[in-house]
Each structure stands twice: as structure tokens, then as C-alpha cells.
Amino acid sequence: MTTLTQTDPKATVLPLLEGSTWPGAAEALEQVHALPVPTSKTERWKYTRVGRLFNEPYAVPTGETDPALPARLPIDVTRVVFVNGHFRADLSDDLKSQKGLVIDSLKHHLSHGPVKEHYGTLAPTGERLFTAMNTAAPTDGLILLVTKDVKVDKPIHVLHVTTWERQLVQPRDLFMLHEGAEAEVIIEHIAMDTPEAFVNSVRECVVGESARLTIHRLQHESNGPANISFEGVRVASSGHYSLSTTTLDGALIRNEVKVSLSGPEAHAELNGVYLLNGTTHCDNHTYIGHDVPDCTSDELYKGIVAGKGTGVFNGKVYVKQDAQRTRAYQSNANILQGDDAKVYTKPELEIYADDVKCSHGCTIGRLDEQGLFYLRSRGVSDAEARKLMAHAFITEVVERVQNEEWKAVLTALIDAKLARL
């Protein structure tokens, strides 16, 4: 009798994950060994193929390279730079200018009390291969600790630069906002023409009582790496968590966010824009757990998918039996352009409480023909009319951004992308 032995497809990454001294790394590595690579049969990965990410070996990333950084944002921010996942103090702004605030490399704070208390609590490795991979060997990441009632005086701009091909970069962030604290973070990924690189991020956010955390993610890595991320969030009573994700370019993108509203009157707002062409594949996976009464959540994702692009949206809202007076809204709207673009959308509501107000909906369509004709009949060319209508379609999401300066930056980037769709 002969036994067929099959090599583990993860063999291409396993050597990179060994020997890390981060908390929970050893257990996570065992999980990596145990968990299979998701296939189309894995419900959570049904429309996003990741098998090819494991086809060839990767290199360990190094931060010892000096990339040409892009011009600063035209707004006043504190910039923090990571190169291939490694924190670069020399390229970052002064991070110690405000009291009651820690902005630093997470690696330097692993033994500190608050990090020990929260690290790993919101990013379970049991079912998620990529979260387990990240936990087994994080590259480095950002610690953001905002103490009681401190309001961070300007947005923090986290710039992740990827410079080499076929490396596995694993950013690992931990954001902790104490009671009444406020912070706004812009997280931007750019790539210096690095096809086949693999960025696998995990971020945990602990939003304290009456604290406000606003995160803007900007993904515009042309010809960039696969970018897979998991964000685990817990919001305490009257806390406010807002995430807006704007995807303009990339190869394979998966954004998963799991929010637990764990105190009364906690609020979560998730907004997303994706403008896809070429062969870009973008998968937004959201989960909002209404664990206690009187919480609210509002979710709006809109995308335009052209060329051979693929958009995936899977949003789940889970309302526990005790979570009375929950209000939860979710909407996903898509415009398809051309015959080769694809959209898969699946909104899900699971409600066990009886006194709730919830809605969800999804649409897939084309640009409004009536509107197009109206504009053209006034002398706006077909191309320009399409741009205006596309802008009009997306603007509902962008309007939700409170920071007017950032909204202007985002609008310009979106319009530039719309002109290329």
C-alpha cells in the first residue's frame, strides 16, 4: 500500500512565520499549521480566490531601504511611516508632541500593561488563517494609545510603503482609546511597483466609553500587492467608531472588519467606496455585532466596477436577543460597467431581539439613463456626463466624511480615478 502525501500549500510561507517572540505567536503558528487555505467552498471566501498567494515562497521584509516618499498630504497631519511593515522613526514626524498620547512602534510596547491587556483579544486566530499568520509573526505596527479625555489635536496619517516584490509584510496595529478620548487616523497603503508582494494586516481597536475613533483607509496601490486585512473592534457604551474605506487600485484586496458594540448606545459607522477596473478584485467583509441594547450602526458601501474588476460585499449584522431597541442600517449599491465586470453582494441580518429597527438592501445596476440623457441634452458630452453621474453615485458615501479637508483630498482622488474608469 502506498500513501500519497500532499505538501501543505502553506509551505511557501511557513518558514517565515517561525521563531517570533510576539505574544501568542507560538499558538498562532500551530493554528496556521492546522487551518486550511480557504477555497471557494469556504463560505467566507467564496468569491475571493487566495490559493495563488501560496504558489511561490516569500522573503522576510526589511525596512532598511529609503523609498522616495510621496508628497505630504495637503492637510495638517502627524505622519507615521512604515516601510515594508517596519516602523521608521527617522521618516516620521515628531510623535511626542502631545501629552496623554502614545503613537509609536507597537514592537517597543509589547510588555506594557495596556498592550498586554488588549493585544490579541479582538483578533481571534481560531478560524482565520490570515489572522493566525499575522499573529504568528507580525512585522511591526502602530500603537495608538489615547488616555482619558485626550483629544488628539490633528489626524494621524499612517503611511505604509511597500517596496519589494514577493515579500510577506504583516502590519499589526493596536489602537486603544480610553474614556472620552478622540482620535482620527488616515491609513494609506502605497506600493512602489511591487507585484506579487503580500501585505497581511491585523488591527485591533478598543474604543472606550464615550470615546470616538475615526479611521479612513485609502487603498491605491497600482500594480500593487495582495492586501488582506482584518480589523477587530470593540466599542464601549456611548463610544463611536467610524471606518471609511476607499479602494481605488490594487490587485487582490480583502477588507474584513468585525465590530462588537458592547456597551449601551455605542455606535458604529462603516462606509466604503470602491472604484475598480483592470483586474482589481476587492472584497469587503463586515460584521457588526449588536451585543447589548440601544446601540446603533449604519453601513453604506458603494462601488463602480469596470473592466475585468470584481467587487464583493458581504455584510452581516447580528442582533443578540438582549439587544433591544437596536437600530441597524446597511446598504450596498453597485454600478457595473462593461460585460466583464463582476459584483457579488450578500447582505445578512440575523436578529434575535424583537424590538429593533433594521434594514438592509443591495442593488446592482447601471448609471441612471434618465440622468445621463438629461445632462447630455444640455450639452454635456457622454464621457463627462458619465463622470458626473458616477461622481453623483459615489458622493453620498463621501459626504459622510466629517473632516472637510480630508473630504476634499478624497474627492479629488476619487474624481481622478473616475476619469480613468
Binding site: 441612471d368 454635456v380 458630452s381 463627462e384 458626473l388
Partner: protein, 248 residues
């Protein structure tokens, strides 16, 4: 200026226009009246180039050119303007931004320089007066949250700004109270000139008290069945459309 010969047009396979003839000369105002479903709005939309309507037979010549070969925006650049019966609301597009794009694309197509921001705003202020339009509406999103009357005024305001050679008003009077009707009509009257023409599509005679036509046409069953001087409109008002249906 405009010559329509034996025009047939379908929508969703159903024939709406069934051999329509019409000639409009510069300086003239033509009223097109008729019962619901007679094809009045279809005619207006076909002239503006709406793609859902399929022209199956006949010809439309505008300023010596085959109009049916032109895209909607090209027709606009050559001076055709359709004031919609139901102006479309477009959230996220500001009234002014859209108009500036429309005006400048048209100027570019006609070999004129684009208007700068300052000149454009001066023009906007001048034309807004014509229809007594609230300047606050200018910065709002296109038709969003406008009342029925405001939407119709916005149509005439846009017409004033774009200065078409041939203005087509599709039931502009529907949903207007008498004050709004007067304002809209006086806006149109101020635009009348010897080199411009108008086609006024309406169900009721009352608009024609304010915009006095040179010719009145009666449409029924996809064709013009009777044409006459402005008094024909009064006759229609008096007798209703039943006799028209009998002729058709």
C-alpha cells in the same frame, strides 16, 4: 430651420409617431396640443435625441443637417434645447457646476473660448433674474429638493443661459400655479427673437395666453391632424379633445 417629414418612432416596439410632418422657421413659435398619449412628448424627446425611442421611418432636417444622426449633446451644441416635463434630480452634482460644464462644452464645440468663473457667475446672475430664480438654488444639487415650480423655472433658467436656437418646451406648464406660469412664460417671451424658434408642447390652452404662438398644431394618434392660427387653441379649449379623436 426644422423640417420633419413622415416621422415614425417606436418605444419598446410600440409605434407612437405614425408619419408626422412639421416645419418650423426662425422666429416662429409653434404650439403642439393634443390629448394624452397622442405622441406630443415622444416628438419632443425624439428631437432631443433620447435613445429609448427608435426612429423607424422619415427624416428630420435641422439647419440643413440630418438631426437624427447627431448625439444628444451634439444637438445641444447646435442649439437644440429640451425643457423636460419631469426634470431629473441628480444628487451630488451642483446646479452651477453642471451648467458651467454644459455651457463650456458647447462653447468649445462652437469654437468659442471657455468662460472663466467670474464671467460665468455674472452671466448666471443676469439670467437668473429672467425667471426670478432664488440664487440659493444655484448652489444646490441639481433639482434635488426643488419644488415642482422651482424645477420648471430651473429649466427655463438653463434655457436662458444656454441660448438655444430651437427651444422645445415639453409640458412646461404642468404642475405650475398661475404665478409660476406667468414667470416661466415671461422668461420664454424675453428669449423670443427673429433667429430663434420654439416648439411649445402643452395639454392646456392657458400657457398659450402667455406665450402666444404663431401656429397651433393638433396631434392625435401620432400625427398632426390639424394646424391653424392661435385661435385654434381656444377652439380646442372650448370643444375638448373628443372631436379630435374622432378625426384621428
Amino acid at each position: 430651420m426644422l423640417k420633419i417629414t413622415n416621422l415614425h418612432a417606436n418605444i419598446d416596439g410600440k409605434e407612437i409617431l405614425k408619419g408626422l410632418d412639421l416645419e418650423v422657421k426662425p422666429g416662429e413659435v409653434h404650439a403642439i396640443m393634443g390629448p394624452n398619449g397622442s405622441g406630443k412628448s415622444t416628438l419632443a424627446n425624439v428631437l432631443a435625441g433620447r435613445e429609448e425611442y427608435e426612429v423607424t421611418e422619415g427624416s428630420v432636417t435641422y439647419l440643413g443637417e440630418d438631426l437624427l444622426e447627431l448625439a444628444p449633446e451634439e444637438r445641444a451644441w447646435k442649439g437644440i434645447f429640451l425643457a423636460f416635463q419631469y426634470p431629473v434630480e441628480i444628487p451630488g452634482v451642483s446646479n452651477l457646476n453642471f451648467l458651467r460644464t454644459a455651457l463650456n462644452e458647447s462653447r468649445k464645440a462652437n469654437g468659442q473660448d471657455e468662460l472663466g468663473g467670474k464671467d460665468f457667475l455674472a452671466l448666471v446672475r443676469e439670467k437668473a433674474k429672467l425667471v426670478e430664480m432664488d440664487p440659493d438654488l444655484m448652489n444646490r444639487n441639481l433639482n434635488v429638493g426643488f419644488s415642482g415650480g422651482e424645477k420648471k423655472r430651473n429649466e427655463i433658467f438653463q434655457m436662458a443661459l444656454l441660448e438655444p436656437r430651437l427651444g422645445i418646451l415639453d409640458e412646461t406648464d404642468s404642475g405650475l400655479d398661475i404665478d409660476a406660469l406667468r414667470i416661466v412664460a415671461s422668461g420664454v417671451n424675453k428669449l423670443r427673437s427673429t433667429d430663434k424658434a420654439f416648439i411649445v408642447v402643452t395639454h392646456y390652452q392657458r400657457l398659450l395666453d402667455h406665450i402666444v404662438p404663431d401656429v397651433v398644431h393638433v396631434m392625435a394618434n401620432g400625427r398632426i391632424i390639424k394646424s391653424g392660427p392661435k385661435e385654434l387653441a381656444l377652439e380646442l379649449e372650448e370643444k375638448g379633445y373628443d372631436w379630435v379623436k374622432e378625426i384621428a
